[in-house]
Each structure stands twice: as C-alpha cells, then as structure tokens.
C-alpha cells in the first residue's frame, strides 16, 4: 500500500503546482477586472461601480490613443509581414546560398533587447540629434530634418523592423510544413514555377499569413519598448504607454480604477483576437503534412537574383541591427551627442564607461538582473513541466482547461499582469511587504512565461512515447520518479531550450520591469530606462553597449544550442 500512496502523492504534487500556477494566472487577470470596478487607491474602501468605464468611454484622449495604436499597428504589420514573407520565401523555397547564415542573421536580431534598438534609432533619426538627419541637412542644405523617428510612422517602422524575423519564423514554419505534393502536382502538369508560386503556393499560405498578421497585431497592441522609448517623450501614446502614464502620471495620484477598466478592455480584445487567430491556424494546418521524412519541394533557382536576395537579407541585418548599435556606440563614446566628425572623433573616449559602470546603483541592478535570470527560468521550467505533464500525460479532468489557462499570458499583454501584481502587492503591503521587491518581478515574469514554457514542453512531451512511461508504471515506479528519471532525461533538450530562452528574456525584459521596479528592485533594463528619461543619453548608451556585450556570448550559446536541437522556430 505504501507504493500506491507514493503513486498518488506524486500526481497530487504535480496537480498542486500546476493548480497554483493556474490560480495565479486567473487571479491576476481577475484582479484587473476587480480593479476596474473600484475607485480610489488600493486598500481604500470603495463600492463597486462602472464609473471607470464611463470615464473611459467619455474621454476623447482615449480615442486619440486608440487611433494612434491602430496606425502604429498598421505600420508595424506593413513593414514586418512583407519582409518576413520575402525572407521566408527566400530561405524555404529558393536556392539562396548560405541559408544557415541568413537564418542566424535574422534570428539573432530577435534576441537582443528591443528598447536598445529603439534608442539607436533615436540617435539616427531624431529631428534634432539624429545623425542621419544632420547628414542630410548638411549635404542638401535643408533647414528642417527630412526624417522624423518620433512619429507614429517612425515607431511603427522600428517595431516592424524588430518583428520581421518573428514574422519570418512563423511564415517559414507554414511554408516548410506545407504538403509539397500540393505544389508538385502543379509543376508536374507543366505549370511554371512562378505561376505555381502565385496560383498555388500563395493561396495555400494565405491562412498562415493571416494568423501571423493577427499575432503581429496583438504584439503591436501590447508593445511597450519602442513606443516607450521613442514615443512617450514626444507625446505619442499607444495603449501600453498610455496605461503606463495612468499609473505613473507626471502629477497626481495613480489612477488604478481607470487603468483596470482600460486593462479589462485590452484583455477582452486580445482574447477575442485569438478566435480568428486559431481559426486561421487550423485552416493552415489542413494544408500541412505531418511526415517524419524531410521531404522537400524542389527549389526555385534564383539565378542572377541570388545576389539581390542577399542584398535584402544583409541590408536588413545592417539597418535593423548594426546601424542602431553603431549609433549607440558612437554616442556612448562622446561627452555629449554630436555628429561624426574629425573633431568629435578626437573627443571620443571610453571615459564614460569607467565612470558609469561602477555606479553602485548599476551594480545593484546587475545583481537583481542576475537573480531574475537564474530564478525565473528555473521556476518556469519546473512549473511548466508539471503543467505539461498533466496536460499531455495524465487523464485528470480539467487538463484541457489547464492548458488553455497556461496559454492565456501569451495573448494577454504582459504589462497587464505587471499592473495587476503591483496592485495586489500594494493591497497586501501591510501584511506582506512585497511591494517594490524583486520577488514581485520574479513572480510576474514566471507567470507570464509559463505560457512559453508549456508550449515548448507540451511538444517535447508529446514526442515521448506513452509506453515508455507505462513500462515503468507497470513495475510500480512512482509518478514523480518516472517524471524525473524517464521523462526529464528524454525531454532535456526542450527543458534546456526553454530555460535559456526564459533566462535571456528575463535579461531583456523592460515592460514588466518598468511597471514594478522600485529603487530597491532596479534591473539593468530599468536602469537604462531611468537614465534615458532622465536625460542621461550618453550614460544610457554606455550601459546599453555593455548590456549587449554581456549578452552576446549567451545569445551565441543559445543560438548554437537551439540550432542543434532544431528548435529555432520559437513561438515567441
């Protein structure tokens, strides 16, 4: 009977862990709705009311924000999707040389922090300090800057450039999985390659494209980095930055009730968007084959256009990654922002690095970041393992619901989870003084990335044959031990992949950190953010460069590992 008890306990522990995570997710979302029905500051007595919603609906500012957000999203999609489509097509369907290199150039860009790239674009295209603008003005004798990044189109452009690799990953997954027979049936009957592309492939890829567009749209709705770095200082507010502003107003009290109403609407919108998203995804899966063999459709020969293909990919990498990085580096070397010139070059030095890097606040932020990078992925991996086991392996009732709940943080903007946990921590701050501590960040990061962890581990666990587990079950090996000694070793690549990815994400995360960081719980990204908005552009640039440098070996390790495990296509 002892063994039977162990059997039972193991499942109970797993169910407990998974249940706690599900409760946390639902609890945090519920808190947003609850907030929206109350007024005043957290903890203050308040009746339940719809006032906040009425205020929101009656506020013309909100409609301006909505319009800005829609335009921002449209530009983002307009940049990211065509680029992603062309990249996917070049890499999956043509004889472009050095594809591995091309994939690396596209993939590595995703991993570096978006807000740093946004900073680079300010240095390049700001009407006053943008290097490119100044060059144009001097060369053409203009009196006003020809280009302005601090516009809706500008931030959409930067966001679109950063999202293009993700669009590429999503579209190329669809292209790769598409049943080649569908395409070849056309070629065999003498239909030309280009005509097949237009008449057969494009219609077949359409659902996948649509699902990618919807996904990009939800990301644009939630995007904080680019609108926060470029837009906010220039009075351009999208949904996410407007929400930030409600909680961190220049004057007056944080308006939690209003932000709750606002957040509740965002939750509804992002969940509603999942309906067409999954519908499109299901449609595109119908055109796919599941086959173990890598059976490939024949490729289109680019001929003279090969060079053009590489110009496009190389050009993208240069513009989206190298150029902003160079701009940041340049600014970090100078005492104040100025044009590249012989005089400026003479003034350039690494002095700033020495001065800023040993700032005790920065060291503290570095330590906190390290803590997040170790603890968050560990929690995510452990909790996701429990959830994925229950979802894919057990027959517990409610496992489908559990899977759906674990998915929720994926479409719902993360900043809402941050807002919610901030409110919750304030509520209980008299009892448990968590507000403003690093633990709040750890908790909310973990909750949000469980959706990523469970996606990766679900697919890893499905691949482990059920009989491998049953063979141990028949011998009476307790559940937890089966999990640890049979399943975990077999899904190790997935676990490592999820761990490193989450760790990198913890390093680059700005959105949630900005909502929650207090002087006690600064992290590197919020430190840069603080410098940036405090006017210390040069210092921010120097720390940014150091952040990138520190991150590079981690990114390289991750990339090599992910490629070896063929898990490049991350469902970010």
């Amino acid at each position: 009977m002892k063994a039977a008890a162990a059997h039972f306990d193991g499942k109970l522990i797993l169910a407990g862990v998974a249940g706690a995570a599900a409760l946390a997710i639902l609890g945090l979302l519920g808190t947003i709705v609850w907030m929206s029905l109350r007024t005043g500051v957290p903890g203050q007595a308040s009746g339940y009311t719809f006032t906040n919603y009425f205020t929101l609906i009656g506020d013309p500012y909100m409609y301006r924000v909505m319009w800005t957000t829609l335009r921002f999203a449209a530009v983002t999609i307009g940049i990211a999707i065509p680029l992603g489509l062309v990249f996917a097509w070049l890499i999956e369907r043509t004889d472009l040389p050095h594809k591995a290199l091309a994939m690396s150039l596209l993939g590595i860009g995703i991993l570096f922090p978006t807000f740093l790239k946004a900073m680079g674009w300010v240095f390049l295209l700001h009407p006053r300090i943008g290097v490119i603008n100044i060059i144009f003005m001097q060369m053409l004798g203009l009196t006003a800057a020809p280009l302005n990044i601090a516009t809706v189109a500008g931030i959409g452009f930067v966001e679109g450039l950063t999202l293009a690799p993700l669009a590429y990953v999503m579209i190329s997954a669809a292209l790769r999985g598409m049943n080649p027979a569908l395409v070849e049936a056309s070629s065999i009957h003498g239909v030309g390659k280009w005509r097949t592309l237009l008449r057969v492939e494009m219609p077949l890829i359409w659902p996948a494209l649509l699902s990618t567009v919807i996904w990009m749209f939800t990301i644009a709705l939630a995007a904080f980095d680019v609108p926060g770095v470029i837009g906010m200082a220039n009075n351009i507010f999208t949904f996410s930055t407007a929400l930030y502003f409600m909680i961190n107003p220049n004057e007056g009290l944080p308006r939690y009730g209003l932000s709750g109403a606002y957040g509740s609407i965002m939750i509804c919108v992002s969940l509603l968007l999942m309906l067409p998203y999954f519908a499109a995804l299901r449609q595109s899966h119908r055109y796919q084959i599941i086959s173990g063999k890598s059976y490939r459709a024949s490729v289109i020969e680019l001929g003279r256009w090969r060079a053009a293909g590489w110009v496009l990919i190389g050009g993208y990498f240069f513009v989206a990654f190298v150029l902003p990085l160079l701009a940041i580096f340049w600014v970090s070397l100078l005492p104040y922002v100025q044009m590249p010139s012989r005089r400026a070059l003479a003034a350039a030095s690494f002095e700033r690095y020495g001065a800023t890097l040993f700032d005790s606040a920065l060291l503290g932020a570095g330590w906190n970041t390290l803590l997040l990078m170790v603890l968050v992925p560990t929690i995510v991996v452990v909790v996701s393992t429990a959830i994925s086991w229950i979802v894919t392996r057990s027959r517990l009732r409610g496992r489908v619901a559990l899977d759906a709940i674990a998915f929720l943080p994926h479409p719902v903007p993360h900043l809402l989870f941050a807002l919610s946990i901030a409110y919750f921590a304030l509520l209980i701050s008299d009892v448990v003084p968590l507000y403003g501590s690093i633990y709040v960040l750890i908790a909310v990061y973990a909750v949000c990335w469980i959706s990523f962890g469970t996606r990766v581990l679900n697919s890893s666990m499905i691949q482990v044959h059920r009989e491998l587990e049953e063979a141990a079950e028949v011998g009476g090996v307790p559940t937890l031990r089966i999990l640890l000694k049979v399943i975990v070793p077999l899904i190790r690549p997935g676990l490592v992949y999820a761990w490193i990815w989450t760790s990198l994400s913890a390093y680059r995360e700005l959105t949630m950190a900005v909502f929650l960081a207090s002087p006690r719980s600064q992290v590197l990204s919020t430190y840069v953010w603080g410098q940036w908005h405090g006017g210390g552009l040069g210092d921010a640039a120097a720390v940014a460069i150091v952040m990138m440098a520190v991150m590079s070996p981690l990114v390289a390790t991750f990339w090599i590992y992910a490629r070896r495990q063929q898990q490049v296509a991350s469902p970010v």
């Binding site: 063994a3 039977a4 059997h7 044959h465 009989e467 491998l468 049953e470 063979a471 141990a472 079950e473 028949v474 011998g475 009476g476 090996v477 307790p478 031990r481 000694k485 049979v486 070793p489 077999l490």
Partner: protein
C-alpha cells in the same frame, strides 16, 4: 487463472463514443499461452491494457487467480504494479537514455519490488541471460538492433518474475525473418518459465504459431475461442474462418441433404438447424485436383485459368460452373493453364455456415 467477465470499455472522442470493448468474456488457464487475434481497431490493445490496469473498464470484472483485479460494480481497481504482471510493449518502450542493464534494473530499483543490490544484480543478469543479452549489459540501448531491443523489453518484463506476461504486438516492428526467430524464442521462454501469457497480434500465422488457445476479436467482441487447429478447421463462424486463412466460398440452398451451388450439388454434413440459404466453404489446400475423373462424390470438371508459382506452394485459379476456385498445393502437379481438370471437394472438409 485469468477470468474476464462481461468487460466493456468505451472511449469518448471528438466524433462520438467508441465501444472499444463490448461485453468480453474470457477464461485463460494457468500457464497457458493465450493469443488475442483481430483486425486493427477490434479492441485487442484495450483488452490487454484493461488486464494490465492501464485502463479502467466501464463494466465487468477481471480476476487473476480468483483475486478481483478490477470490478466496475464493486468499485475495485488494483493498480498495475500490484497485479504481478510483466508487460512488453509494441514500441519496445526501452528507455533510450539507459543501458541494457539499467533498463532491466530500473523497475526493480524504483518499483514495488525493491531489493538489495546483490540480489538485484543477480536477477537482472539472469533475465538478460535468458534472452542472450548478458554480454551486452553495459551497452546503451540505442546501439542495439531492433531484435535486441525487443529482447531487452522481454528481459525487463520477466525480471520482475510476473505471474502473467502481457504482450502487445511485440514483433510488429521487426522484419519478417527476425520475427519468426524472436517468435519462437518467446514461446520457448514462456514455457520454460511456466508463466501465463496474454499476447496480442493481428497476424494469424503468428497467432497460430504461438497460441495454446486463442480468441478472435472483432468490433470489441470475442467471436470465437479455441485452439488454433480447432479454429482453423472447425470454426463456427465464417468471419473467423476467413480471418485465419483463405477460403473458397460457394453460396447455395439446402436441397435433399446437400447444398445446391453454382458448381453443382455438394453433398456434405449439414450441422443442426441449417435451412435454406447457406454458404459452403473449403480451404484452397483441402481441394483435390486431377487430370482424370475418379467418379467420387463432389467431383466437377473445371477449367484451369492461371498458375502462380510461389516457391513452397503453387496456386491455381480454376473455374467450375461459373464459380471461381483457388487451389493451393505443395506438390506442384505441373498443370498448364488452359487445360481441363477435375476438382473434388472432400465432403469431410466442407464447412457450412448459415447465411
């Protein structure tokens, strides 16, 4: 030893409920090698998994040695590890991250039967010796051939010294030649160890080669149970007889103690209660064919349509009175297609089924 009574199991899938088992009754004797045979989807695996305790039946009972293992009515369900079973899976299910030794040792180290190190080693090695893998104990399993991996799975199942060994198509992933070899080893081993075996397959040759007795399943029901010879020659139902081997069938009507068919009037022993429409069947190798008429009963002239040489046997296709007849023989008489011959259908071999 194993008693299964009125066992039912249904699965609910996205497109409705499937009756995987629909009132199965079986009694398997002690030390018997019992085979479940049936087409894909007939419920064999489900039955085996119910016996293992990996699946919980909706209705009915399973008893091992008189002990109730599962009874839906009484609410009894003994978990797999307390049923004293060993199980060999279709996919082998050997753990790829362990060595041969560890694969066999793992359930003994971590399961219900924990034992001291020395005894464990002895147990594992003797199980490996039984399947001739003692020399490979320290090899990681991915370096073994398919047949060897299958034997690891077998060693792991018998190392726990089970009273019942359950096997689900253990040979289906092996190639034909190896399959026969391992098949004979499995039977030899089970007899040597003297354990009760419940074995699932969809291959009738494999089933007949292994079974002391077998059950033919279809649509979640057991159609017929019996020794292979009995089922092959004297099956009560046409689906069972046809599943076990090819048949020539003639539809006809009962008429003066015989059956009137397309080939002619067949005289045969009519089972009790057969009236009107019946089907008469005979296996291709039970037919007699010769160049000249012998004047015996059930003899008809036939035309030789074609000849198929298969090595150990030769198959002829004939027509008699518009009916097609297949004749199979090991001693090739060397008839030429196009010729005329005489077919006789021995009355003792004719099987009559109601229609």
């Amino acid at each position: 030893m194993i008693e299964i009574r009125a066992l039912s199991k249904r699965f609910t899938t996205s497109d409705g409920a499937v009756r995987a088992l629909d009132g199965v009754d079986l009694a398997i004797a002690d030390k018997e090698f019992f085979v479940l045979l049936g087409l894909s989807g007939s419920g064999k695996t489900t039955l085996l998994r119910c016996a293992a305790g990996l699946e919980k039946p909706d209705a009915g009972e399973i008893l091992f040695n008189g002990r109730t293992m599962s009874s839906a009515a009484a609410g009894v369900f003994v978990p797999p590890e307390r049923r004293a079973i060993g199980m060999v899976f279709q996919s082998y299910a050997v753990w790829p991250h362990m060595t041969v030794f560890d694969n066999v040792a793992f359930p003994l180290e971590n399961g219900v039967q924990r034992m001291p190190r020395a005894r464990l080693r002895e147990r594992v090695m003797s199980a490996l010796a039984l399947v001739q893998l003692a020399d490979h104990a320290e090899r990681p399993v991915p370096f073994l051939s398919g047949g060897q991996q299958q034997r690891v799975a077998l060693a792991r199942a018998i190392a726990v010294e089970p009273e019942v060994l359950l096997m689900d198509e253990p040979l289906s992933n092996l190639d034909a030649r190896l399959r026969e070899e391992v098949r004979d080893e499995i039977r030899g081993l089970s007899k040597k160890l003297g354990i009760t075996v419940l074995y699932v397959t969809h291959d009738q040759v494999e089933a007949m080669a292994l079974a002391d007795r077998m059950a033919v399943m279809s649509g979640g029901k057991v159609l017929e149970t019996g020794a292979p010879e009995k089922l092959y020659h004297f099956s009560q139902s046409r689906p069972v007889a046809e599943f076990l081997g090819a048949m020539n069938v003639f539809h006809g009507a009962v008429e003066n103690g015989g059956v009137k068919t397309a080939v002619g009037l067949l005289s045969c022993a009519l089972p009790e209660g057969m009236r009107n429409e019946v089907t008469v069947a005979i296996r291709p190798e039970e037919i007699l064919v010769s160049n000249s008429a012998s004047g015996g009963a059930n003899e008809f002239p036939a035309a030789l349509e074609s000849r198929l040489f298969l090595g150990d046997v030769t198959v002829y296709h004939l027509t008699a009175g518009g009916a097609k007849i297949t004749y199979k023989t090991a001693a090739d008489p060397g008839f030429e297609p196009g010729g005329r011959v005489y077919v006789s259908l021995p009355a003792g071999k004719l099987k009559v089924f109601a229609r």
